[in-house]
Amino acid sequence: MHIAIIGNGISGITAARFIRKLSGHRITVISAESDYFFSRTALMYIYMGHMRQVDTQPYEPWFWKKNKIDLVKDYVEKIDTNAKTLHFSKNTPLTFDKLIIACGSKPNKFGWPGQDLNSVGGLYSLQDLEAMEKGSKDLKRAVIVGGGLIGIEMAEMFHSRHIPVTFLVREKSYWNMVLPAEESEMINRHIREHGFDLRLSTELKEIVDDGSGKACAAITNTGDRIDCGYVGLTAGVSPNIAFLKDTKIETQRGILVDENLETNIPDIYAIGDCAQMRNPLPGRRPIEAVWYTGRMMGETVAYTICKQKIAYNPGIWFNSAKFLDIEYQVYGTVLANPPENHISLYWEHQDGRKSVRLVYDKDSGEILGFNLMGVRYRHEVCEKWLASKTPIEEVLMNLGLANFDPEFYDEYEAEIVAQFNQQTGKNLQLKKRRGLSAALSFLKKTVS
């Protein structure tokens, strides 16, 4: 059987790797972007000089040959679903038995005047990075539009080269549709502490042409004109599916897939950023453009193709990011605008760069989520507490089990418990401190 995979991002490559682990099928991975799989999450580090592009490739070039994964560098122009054939812009057509589409997203553009000028771009692909590199020469100021994860990465990138940044955020506070108010405010402070010109409640209205087809200024909805040589568009992403519009593959915003990640055409699957679940899982969005879910989809589709059909189940939500110098981890459900039954225990360190938030149900007391800023918690421990609907008291008493900060770091669990006691009038004692043995014993224990 020949399995073709469009896209060499984390979703497509994970699918290829797992298909190889589970079978001897012929595998072809197609990408127009790069010769080899590299971590798109590390794009910023290449620009900032932390790494070279080769360092972002998790596998050495021999890996693909050794594992009999064929790589094709080309752009898929057309998919013939009847003849099961891919048509390329350069190579001769390729037939497949099964097709996995993992073609990712593209940056959103909302029809701003000037959005297609030179020196205007997002940050998603190697080509975007090259454009940024080119645009950075003699750059006096960059304007970044969009208050999300990629926006702050882009701001950090320019900052690393001492290029002043103006950061336009539509919302009242940075990423406040995801982060609860306190954490969002912490990041506002941190962005300003680094010297960025952060403008909240501000939208882009227009990008000005300098006469040569290059951006020279951004005009905001407040009427301000910001002279700049580069405009970063980071107001989210959407599935990159324009090349499918003449096929029978059913799409809406993304490629519609069932719970097995199969499209309306048998033997054609879609995974990662470009996939849209027909029936989203409870509490989840239909399109999740997240690295981790892309990887899980890759594993799932490989299993479905090689073993038996298995429904995509990403399990308990988790995510992570880093805002300049503040690491962020989230496990379970932590909402920016929680319903009335979600109670938060929020502890913040006096330095204003660390916090821990535990969310639990008001009535049942069961733990619902963890939100960490500048503190590391163990994924597996948090997940087990969440999966077994552990009462908040029990979580608090054992909170040290979750701590994953490096050795000799201060442990704040006792303070968190004390704060809970103060808020609720209870008298809990912290029983477990940080340590691997205890955490592993806990993980091995079957829940009664």
Partner: protein, 598 residues
């Protein structure tokens, strides 16, 4: 870089220039006082010959001329003493070689005679030059480093791969330097050990080069650029630094008579510590300690948000200053043997040499204690402590080589090769050195106990001098440190150190230490692998959710520090170490549980 830092860097460069120039400022004049020869027959003959040759009390403008002339004098004196011995016989009651001058005494005669014959600004004002070199260097370095404490805490690796100092080199350029250095050291070794093997060795090396080139061309078609290769040749500042360091080590180990002004500069410190004048080793120790301390401050500035790094850096600074530098000198002042309590065999390969054992045994209770302590560390200390904490307790908390690598070497940690090939070579080479060290020590001890020098077809003296020359000096010094800017800061620790190999075996097979991975949080960005100084592809494990147990890991903790998603943690626990370090731990594949795929 702000103005203050630029001033600091300027001061540092001035200090470096004065340091370098100080080698050529003095004039040299041989007098009967400056001749460093305690043997009366030798001294008298040398003075006589020097007078005949017109060398005595003649001023030479450079150490090169002086050394050439003095070597000529020594040769002549050697000859005439032999002739006299033949003609008149050796004086009554005097050992033949106390009368005749053997080749082996020449080195010592030359070094300290050169040092004492110097006249001029450096030898006249050692304290002034101590300030102008070491002093200004420290001041400039600190002025450059201290403003970093003002930055917002966090990982600051910006632009490392943009700087000509730290961006590294292409594999071909690196290989050229490495090949040239190895061949140079080898050829010099043959020349140094025994002239008659020089041309056969030279021929063999040329033959190997031809074979190597043919093999390289044959394989080039399939060869892909390895991941660790740098994009271009623009790392020139790194090359300059590497060449300076390599040059320093070559002079230090084999041509110390050319760096006597540096020894003179450190005389005031040596005299105040041990009461003796400074040798080239004291100079090296002083420089080493100063560098570990100043660059340790830099390390602390860079990682001041990370208490593990702060404590660990404080530890290597302490052990270098107290155990490697001060205590041995103080022991000497108190007439005890020079002893570094933390330098363990087989890194300290001279520990079981006859002269060392004899020296310790002859030094009373403390000497015996030192002998027992050294042996106990090898057979009890290492296995027990490594079982509990991994090899990091030594390699990145105590060891001097590790101390230098973690302080001076920190800017170069990203240059280690992460390819699978490098790992394969690493295992062969480092375990080869371990075997060599054990065999060499076994032979030396055999000779010590039986008096037999010939073992099979090897002479234990020859084997031991080759070990000292090639591994002790060539590998550990010239390549180990000289190649910081070319191959990363742990080249010696990773490829060569026999003690690291021994610690690594314990760590790999019987230790609670590992690096744990935080569930599914890894995003494969590769910061961990990039900044692993031991060339471990940390990401390979982290992206699988696999715990990391590797013999080479020195537990520096930088992978955990640079991880942007909080994925890695250094931990000690024996529990489940086998299952969690398994090849594949896939997360989130079955319906509702985390499960392993077989």
């Amino acid at each position: 870089m702000n103005v203050i830092q630029k001033i600091g860097l300027g001061i540092f460069i001035i200090a470096l220039l004065i340091f370098t120039a100080s080698l050529g400022l003095d004039k040299y004049e041989l007098t009967s006082d400056s001749l460093n020869v305690s043997n009366e027959y030798h001294a008298a003959e040398i003075i006589e010959v020097a007078e005949q040759e017109g060398m005595l009390e003649t001023s030479y403008n450079s150490s090169f001329d002086f050394i050439t002339a003095f070597k000529g004098v020594l040769k002549k004196a050697q000859k005439s003493l032999s002739a006299k011995a033949k003609e008149n016989g050796v004086p009554e009651g005097v050992n033949e070689w106390d009368y005749k001058m053997g080749d082996w005494v020449l080195k010592d005669y030359i070094l300290f005679t050169v040092k004492r014959s110097a006249t001029g600004p450096v030898s006249g004002n050692p304290l002034l030059f101590l300030f102008l070199t070491f002093g200004l260097g420290i001041i400039g370095g600190l002025i450059y480093i201290l403003p970093k404490f003002n930055l917002i805490p966090g990982i600051k690796n910006d632009r490392i791969y943009h700087r000509p100092m730290t961006k590294g080199l292409q594999l071909s350029v690196r290989s050229f330097f490495l090949g040239a250095t190895i061949i140079g050291v080898l050829l010099y070794g043959f020349y140094y050990m025994n002239n008659k093997y020089f041309w056969p060795a030279f021929t063999a090396i040329v033959a190997l080069l031809i074979i190597g080139m043919v093999w390289f061309v044959e394989n080039q078609k399939q060869k892909q650029p390895p991941r660790s290769a740098s994009v271009d040749f623009s790392g020139w500042l790194g090359i300059l630094t590497g060449v300076y360091l390599i040059g320093f080590y070559v002079l230090l180990y084999w041509k110390a008579e050319f760096i006597t002004p540096w020894m003179i500069i450190t005389d005031p410190i040596s005299l105040s510590l041990s009461g003796n004048e400074a040798s080239q080793w004291f100079l090296y120790g002083t420089l080493y300690t100063v560098i570990v301390l100043v660059m340790g401050v830099r390390m602390m500035a860079k990682y001041r948000h990370n208490r593990y790094q702060l404590i660990r850096t404080g530890s290597v600074m302490f052990f270098q200053t107290a155990f490697a530098f001060l205590i041995p000198e103080i022991l000497v002042r108190m007439n005890y043997p020079y002893f570094d309590f933390k330098n363990i065999w087989p890194l300290n390969y001279t520990f079981f040499f006859d002269w060392n054992i004899q020296n310790l045994i002859n030094s009373g209770g403390l000497g015996i204690f030192m002998l027992v302590w050294g042996i106990a560390l090898v057979i009890i200390g290492i296995p027990v402590i490594t079982y509990f904490y991994g090899k990091r307790w030594y390699c990145s908390w105590v060891c001097g080589c590790g101390g230098l690598a973690e302080t001076l070497g920190d800017p170069y940690r990203q240059l280690s090769d992460k390819s699978l090939n490098a790992w394969k070579m690493e295992r062969w080479i480092i375990h080869g050195v371990l075997v060599f060290a054990v065999l060499m020590t076994g032979m030396v001890l055999y000779t010590y106990f039986t008096g037999q020098r010939q073992i099979l077809s090897f002479n234990s003296d020859t084997v031991r001098s080759w070990y000292g020359f090639f591994i002790g000096a060539g590998f550990a010094g010239v390549v180990g440190t000289g190649f910081y800017p070319l191959m990363g800061n742990r080249t010696w620790c990773r490829f060569g150190c026999p003690l690291a190999a021994y610690l690594g075996l314990v760590q790999r097979f019987k230790s609670r230490f590992r690096i744990t991975t935080n569930g599914g949080q890894c995003i494969s960005c590769g910061n961990c692998s990039t900044y692993c100084e031991m060339g471990i592809d940390v990401r390979w494990y982290a992206q699988r959710g696999q715990d990391i147990v590797r013999s080479s890991c020195v537990g520096c903790g930088v992978c955990s520090a640079v991880c942007p998603r909080g994925v890695l943690r250094l931990e000690n626990s024996a529990m489940d170490v086998n299952t969690r370090a398994q090849e594949l731990r896939a997360l989130h594949i079955t319906d509702d549980k985390i499960a392993l795929i077989e």
